[in-house]
């Protein structure tokens, strides 16, 4: 194992761990289901993907790397679908998203048009 490969591997592993930790903090700290889903989605795709790429550098050109690639493809395919299904099921069962005006922000901290409650004529959320 060359030094360059080792350094690259650990860079990927550490950045992947950062994503996983950030996602974990997000799941605890975010205010409602949809923002929590966003945090856990980052963990599933970004964090797990980077960790797997780091492990591929550890494995070198071998059968292990091929198996890791298959896991990566399956993960990047299945976890966004599950996040989508969960969010859609929550919307369909009437879970109201958390809008920016629910926060007690000073007017200077508001971004115009960001997370704004939709006007009553297009009620029903994104479809």
């Amino acid at each position: 194992m060359s030094v360059v490969g080792d350094v690259l591997s650990w860079l990927f592993l550490l950045s992947g761990s950062f994503f996983v930790i950030a996602g974990g903090i997000g799941v605890i700290r975010m205010p409602d289901l949809f923002t929590r889903l966003h945090a856990s989605g980052v963990t599933d795709t970004g964090g797990a993907g980077l960790v797997l790429v780091g492990l591929m550098f550890q494995g070198g050109i071998s059968l292990i790397t091929v198996k890791l690639l298959l896991i990566l493809g399956f993960l990047w395919f299945s976890s966004p679908v599950s996040t989508y299904a969960l969010a859609r099921a929550a919307l369909a069962s009437g879970e109201e998203p958390f809008w920016a005006e629910d926060l007690d922000l000073p007017p200077s901290a508001r971004i115009p048009g960001f997370a704004q409650r939709p006007a009553p004529d297009r009620e029903g959320g994104p479809e």
Partner: protein, 141 residues
């Protein structure tokens, strides 16, 4: 739920992959982690996913109840049949050594057949349990 195009397409891609992985776990079981029980559960999970997305009625058309029940008993029959075959061969129940001319090959065939029986039974029982729970309170199924 059948109007959800993303879930439908994803399920159509994932279900064959899960079944293939179940076979991998089954036949790689004597070299790595895995074996009959795990493979049966994974194969049953593929059909549970199919039923969640496409509905119980279509799943019954793919995998009728009589097939599942036949699986549940055929696996036990295979398991016991291997045991009886070894007894006919002149050894103890499930002593695989007599299944081939070479005892080592006999062990190999024996464990493969017995694990196949376990997989078929576990698959059948798991899907049967799911069918019973999913059809509870529904007279149309």
């Amino acid at each position: 739920m059948s109007d959800q195009i993303i879930l439908r397409v994803a399920t159509k891609i994932i279900v064959p992959t899960i079944l293939l992985f179940a076979l991998y776990v089954q036949f790689h079981g004597d070299f790595g982690p895995g074996g009959g029980f795990q493979a049966g559960v994974i194969a049953a999970a593929a059909f549970v996913l199919y039923a969640l997305v496409f509905g119980l009625r279509r799943t019954h058309r793919v995998l009728p109840t009589w097939v599942v029940r036949t699986c549940a008993s055929a696996g036990v029959l295979l398991y016991g049949g291997v045991g009886l075959a070894t007894m006919i061969g002149g050894a103890e129940f499930l002593n695989y050594n007599v299944l081939a001319h070479d005892p080592e090959h006999g062990q190999h065939y024996g464990i493969l057949l017995v694990e196949l029986g376990v997989m078929i039974t576990v698959f059948g029982v798991m899907v049967t349990i799911f069918y019973f729970f999913a059809a509870r309170g529904r007279e149309d199924l």
